[in-house]
Every structure is written in C-alpha cells, then in structure tokens.
Symmetry: C2
Subunit: 200 residues, 2 copies
C-alpha cells in the first residue's frame, strides 16, 4: 500500500467530513484519486451526498445590478484580501461600478487571456482576409491585424474595456485606483450577464 500524503487526507476530510482513518483507507483504495475516494466514502455512507464544504480562500463581495426595468441583470464577484476591506465604501462602490460596466458594455470575458485561442485565431483570419489584395507589405499587415485584435479585446474583455463613465480610462485602471486607495490587491473572478429572452 502506497503512502498517502497528509495533505490529500486533509483535502478529502474537508470535502466529505469523514474521519481521518476512513479517508486514508479510501484514498489508498482509490490510488490517490480524490473523486474516486469520495465515491468510495459515499458508498460506505461515510460522506455527505452533494455536500461541498468548499472553504473560502478569498474575501470580497458579490455585486448585482438590474438594468432597463429588469430586462438585463448582472452578477459579479470581486475579490480582495480581507473582509475588512470588502466592507469599505471604496470597495463596494467599485463592485457597483463594475456591475454597471458589465450591464452597459456587455463584455464576454474578464481578461483578454480568457478568450479561447480558437476565437482569437478566427478573428485574426477574418482581419487578414479583409485586407487581402490590397498590396500591403506583410509587416504593415501584421501591425494592422494586431491593432484590430486590440480593439477586439477592448470590446470583449472587461479589464480592457474603456470605462462607461470615461472612455479615456480603462477598467483595469479603475481597479488599480481602488487598489491604491484600499491598500489590497483586488481581482474580478467572474461575472454573469442575463438579458431577457436571449437564453431561448
């Protein structure tokens, strides 16, 4: 029987609420696979069904904003390092501002790195095709494609968008200002934006 690292046993205990020895035995049986070990514990009645303990590793706030008489709604999670900062008016007004930004400017992703590679490649191919037969040198063409891709990111990535209040300030700069004010790192982890009827 292979040795089971203590941190794996701990992770399984946190997840299932089962005892130390039971978790260790289940992990040995599952060759260290946490999912499989969870299933083993559940079969033995030693773990809670569908229970996610999921300890919060970050502080922050969930913000919501309802727009256009309930036809558009936004939910956003903004994180900081301490609960103390999460409760400050500076932080909370940033959360509200970001929720309104998502409602008005309709980004698809938080960061430009979140855009799937295939989508970026498709955009590039489209820009290149649009400029075919214009006799432009390859170097110039590449620069134009990069420029267009940048505008694409400014449409689809929240942090790259210009603020809805001041087109000269990027959303990432708004966040940087708040970081300077509250003295903690601030990140946006996710958002959802619903518009009536679009899911159908």
């Amino acid at each position: 029987m292979a040795a089971i690292p203590a941190e794996q046993v701990k992770a399984l205990r946190d997840k299932t609420g089962a005892g130390f020895m039971e978790c260790k035995a289940a992990l040995a049986e599952a060759a260290g696979d946490i999912e499989e070990a969870t299933t083993i514990l559940r079969k033995r009645g030693l773990a809670q069904a569908a229970k996610k303990v999921g300890r919060s590793t970050q502080q922050g706030q969930i913000g919501a904003y309802i727009h256009a008489g309930g036809r558009i709604g936004v939910l956003i999670e903004v994180n900081c390092e301490s609960d103390f900062v999460a409760r400050t008016p500076d932080f909370q007004s940033l959360v509200k501002e970001l929720a309104m930004q998502v409602a008005a400017a309709d980004p698809k992703y938080v960061r430009r790195e979140d855009v799937p590679a295939e989508e970026v490649e498709r955009e590039r191919a489209i820009y290149r095709a649009q400029m075919e037969n214009q006799g432009k040198p390859a170097k110039v063409l590449d620069k134009i494609v990069d420029g267009k891709l940048n505008s694409f990111y400014e449409r689809v990535a929240l942090l790259d968008q210009p603020s809805i209040r001041d087109q000269n300030v990027k959303v990432s700069a708004l966040i940087a200002q708040a970081v300077a004010k509250v003295g903690e790192n601030i990140t946006v982890s996710r958002f959802a934006r619903f518009k009536v009827g679009e899911a159908a």
Copy 2:
C-alpha cells in the same frame, strides 16, 4: 447551386445585419452553415464583428438577490408571455421569491431533467452499494433507490425543491399558483449563484 430557404437567409440577416443578396450568396457558399456564412460575410466586411442581434423571443424579468452582506448573490431569469405580465407585482414578487430560494437552498439545476445522465447514474450506483449485503429483494431495492433519487432531485433541482417558506409546497407549485393568478405560462430559464471565494 442549391436553393437556400428564406428562413435561413432571414436568420443570417438578423444575426449579421447584412443585405438579403449578400446573405443568400454567403449561405450558398457555406452550404447552408450559418456560422460559416457569418465568417464569410465578416471577411468581406459585410457583417458587424461580435454583434449578436438576438431578438428576444420571450418576455420576463431578470431578478437579483444579494444575501449575507454580499457573500452570496443570485441572478435569475423568469419568463412569461407578455411584457404586460412581466411588469405586474404578482410576477415580480415571484421572481424575487425564486431568487431568494436559490440563494438559501442552493440548487444546481432548474429542472430534474437538467441533471446530466452520468450524475444520476453515479447516484444510483452509490445508493445500491450502500444497501448491498442487506439481503433485500431486488424489487424492494429498486423502490428504495427510486426514493433516494427523488430526495436527490429535491436537493439539486430548483423546481423540485420544497419552498424555503413552506416545506410542504414545492417550488413548481409556487410557480403554478402564479400561473393561475396572472393567466400566462411562466418558466424559469436559468440562474447563477455566486458565493465569495468558491470560484478560486
């Protein structure tokens, strides 16, 4: 060249804002594939980039609810047939009630049909394993498994959950009551529930 159905041309026009003849030609070139035809139009500069016209086919409201001082947030889309009904207090209080239900009772899906088949199968296997070696007849075993599966749906499927206000009333019954009041069909199309830190 194959004939392109008029409704396909219309769908592409709605999606891209391009002209009738351009859409027809692009569809012919793409052998009727709307995605491909959109890319063709975009390459020709005839379609707006990243523009989704997406006409709303349903009325309704987006509701939001923030719980526990901003540590939990819910966004929900509830649909009805007319904008008139969407603006009634009866409908709006149902939307609010459902958002609070999601915040408090943490469902994972709207309907029991939305639970993936593999997840249902895994639950069944766990329930069966829990009762092995108890010498129960197969018929009895099946009934017990069905009963446990029912409790599982009552935990994870919003419409199957007991109302947080009255454990004897299912959420689906709350909706049925509202349908009777407003005289229109009402459906829940989706929800999102964020809890601070769980995304990390």
